[in-house]
């Protein structure tokens, strides 16, 4: 008798779960990443491709200022080399760091200068401050990507789904100027929707324009550079 009541209550509780689906963003497609599961490992080639996507596409607007160049050489990182246990000695990491221009002051005069980076430096911000970032991006602040994979429910799959979610808006949906329709972005489209108010299209308006295009980033290992590949790989890198 008691067990029956408990079961019924549990069933009711479970039923109420899918109530969220209507009018919200499309659920991201599941990707079988190599690192999933208790015995998962990162695919270093994928991480390197993902880093390349970040470097060439995302870093123009998105900072990653809680990470340092040496983290690229850490265990589980894209450029980890067992010969260089200390990532600060890793030549690939040093080369990547040296490409970046880091704000610093001159040791003798105190003037602000830009110098080549070292592995200990954090990834530099593309804009000097948040106000400049907003001004260059139509009022929207591109969020920092250091923790993006943990800061969104769905993690890397959400990121990959979002980057591929720039579909053509359905008929009846007016996209406000400066915004873009993305069916994976959790937002509210009711302002521009003229159709059935009980069934608005999934997704929302995002200020970021579709950043990925086929062939935009050439992958050094020859992997075909489709939007899906770029999106999947950058998701793994952010993880």
């Amino acid at each position: 008798m008691l067990r029956k009541i408990t079961f019924i209550a549990a069933a009711v509780a479970l039923l109420a779960g899918p109530a969220l689906a209507a009018g919200h963003a499309k659920a991201p497609a599941d990707i079988a990443y190599s690192y999933e599961g208790p015995f998962g490992t990162f695919d270093q080639a994928q991480l390197q491709r993902g880093y390349k996507v970040y470097r060439e596409v995302c870093a123009a607007c998105h900072s990653m200022n809680l990470l340092a160049f040496r983290n690229l050489g850490d265990r589980g990182g894209p450029f980890y080399n067992p010969k260089y246990k200390n990532a600060n000695d890793n030549p690939v990491v040093k080369a990547i760091a040296a490409e970046a221009q880091i704000n610093d002051i001159d040791n003798e005069t105190g003037d602000p200068i830009k110098r080549a980076g070292i592995p200990a430096d954090r990834f530099p911000d593309p804009f000097p401050n948040a106000v400049a970032a907003r001004a260059s991006n139509g009022g929207a602040l591109p969020p920092d990507l250091s923790l993006m994979a943990k800061a969104r429910s769905g993690g890397p799959e959400y990121v990959a789904g979002l980057l591929q979610g720039y579909v053509a808006p359905p008929a009846g949906l007016t996209v406000p100027t400066g915004q873009h329709y993305n069916d994976h972005f959790p937002g509210d489209v009711s302002a521009g929707w003229k159709g059935d108010p009980h069934h608005p299209p999934a997704g929302g308006f995002i200020a970021m324009a579709a950043p990925l295009k086929a062939g935009l980033v050439t992958f050094d290992d020859g992997t075909p550079s489709t939007v899906k590949q770029q999106a999947t790989d950058v998701g793994a890198f952010l993880m």
Binding site: L2, T6, A13, L15, A16, A19, L66, P143, K150, G155
Partner: protein, 439 residues
């Protein structure tokens, strides 16, 4: 239970100490030779599990405080510094965060055991009340701790909860300004939360000592609710309860390890990995899971002040429980009607927790449109919360008092050992024998 001590100091040093500060005697009397009812089941191991949790939280917390910066500008990045740079920082941080959840899982099971077996009834009222005090301190500590990473949920959760106190008339605003140290949750709030979060666990430790002292004065309850009458009813704490607690602790640690190593963020919220922004509220402010039932009760009441009072009242019912329950029978094992209401109570608590996580106007049964009552459709989580809150209060304020007077309990055994003796069984003779010396 307070008989004369059987402690025999063996070495010269222990005899010397025993005359000056009898710590050895205290440990012997409380945890070695202490007479423990022989029929305790695994629900009684949560006391030891909770002590372990408190120890883990204090240890990991002190270590985290070596690396954390309690400043609005640096708190978020100092936590990331702990995760990435500090040796094993990721492990210690995840142990602390998941340890808090494990602490609450254990405390809820511990309290439910108390409710079911009547461990709050005379002469254990003070023991129960001290436990409620510990629970209240735990909630305060957990709330302040969650604010420290200064993520979106930390910040806005702090805003919501501190604004609750503003509901009180006349003094509300003064209290909130005092609590904030300013006009909103900001730098001063973070700093004082850090200081208090460091302090409160030591107060918890002090109340735990009182709790164990109160326990040892009256002795443990047991599944039958019948007091031990003779030596045949008890066993020495060591090795029986010690080993049983050790086993339960190991199982608990396995569960803890699964969370820490394989799903460390499962019990948290993704929005807390976004740095706090006072100007942007997350679409879905949700407290940590262990506060969800009270959050649901808070939102169930349409009036702000009444909601706050209902939430505090829900915790207050626990304090009054020893006097609300009129039954002469302790354990619900022998109270079949009470058992039924208890199971419903359990289900209601889970439902309340579930409702706390949902948006109040979301539909419970999707697609079903119903009429609106008191500003909310009937098919909504807020109405489900209202029903559940009604049962929650009814359980403590109506069912417990009335049932004790009207129910027909089953026959309670005379002694703890009686149910065993009526079965074909082998029975040990000496309760306080040391069987490991034989054979």
């Amino acid at each position: 239970m307070s008989g004369h001590s059987t402690y025999q100091p063996k070495s010269g040093f222990s005899r010397w100490m025993d005359q000056r500060l009898p710590v050895g005697r205290l440990v012997w009397d409380s945890f070695v030779d202490y007479p423990t009812p022989r029929n305790l089941n695994y629900w009684w191991t949560f006391g030891a599990i909770l002590s372990l949790c408190l120890g883990v939280q204090i240890l990991t917390g002190i270590v985290l405080a070596m690396h954390y910066t309690p400043s609005a500008a640096a708190a978020f990045s100092s936590v990331e510094h702990i995760m990435r740079n500090v040796n094993y920082g990721w492990l210690i941080r995840y142990m602390h965060a998941n340890g808090a959840s494990m602490f609450f899982i254990a405390v809820y099971l511990h309290m439910l055991r108390g409710l079911y077996y009547g461990s709050y009834k005379a002469p254990r009222e003070i023991l129960w009340i001290l436990g409620c005090v510990i629970y209240g301190l735990m909630m305060a500590t957990a709330f302040m701790g969650y604010v420290l990473p200064w993520g979106q949920m930390s910040f806005h959760g702090a805003v919501v909860i501190t604004n609750l106190l503003g509901a009180f008339p006349i003094v509300g605003e003064t209290i909130t300004t005092l609590l904030w140290g300013g006009f909103a949750v900001d730098e001063p709030t973070l700093k004082r939360f850090f200081s208090l979060h460091y302090l409160l666990p030591f107060m918890i430790a002090g109340v735990v000592i009182l709790h164990i002292w109160a326990l040892h004065v009256v002795g443990q309850n047991n599944p039958t609710g019948v007091d031990p009458k003779s030596k045949a009813d008890t066993l020495p704490f060591t090795p029986y309860a010690t080993v049983k607690d050790g086993f339960a602790v190991s199982v608990f640690l396995i569960l803890f390890a699964i969370f820490v190593f394989y799903m460390p963020n499962a019990l948290g919220h993704a929005d807390n990995y976004v740095p706090a922004n006072p100007l942007v509220t997350p679409s879905h402010i949700v407290p940590e899971w262990y506060f969800l039932p009270f959050y649901a009760i808070l939102r169930a009441v349409p009036d702000k002040l009444m909601g706050v009072l209902a939430m505090f009242g829900a915790i207050g019912c626990l304090f009054a429980l020893p006097w609300l329950d009129t039954s002469k029978v302790r354990s619900m094992r022998y109270r079949p009607q009470a058992k039924l209401y208890f199971v419903i109570f359990l289900v209601v608590c889970v439902i309340l927790g579930f409702c706390g996580a949902k948006l109040p106007d979301d539909q419970v049964i999707p697609g079903l449109t119903t009429f609106t009552l008191v500003d909310s459709p009937l098919n909504s989580f807020v109405w489900l919360s209202r029903l559940a809150t009604l049962y929650y209060f009814a359980y403590f304020l109506v069912i417990m008092p009335v049932l004790g007077l009207t129910e027909k309990p089953l026959a309670v055994p005379e002694t703890i050992a009686t149910p065993a003796l009526s079965h074909p069984a082998t029975v040990p003779a000496e309760a306080t024998a040391a069987p490991e010396m034989k054979g």
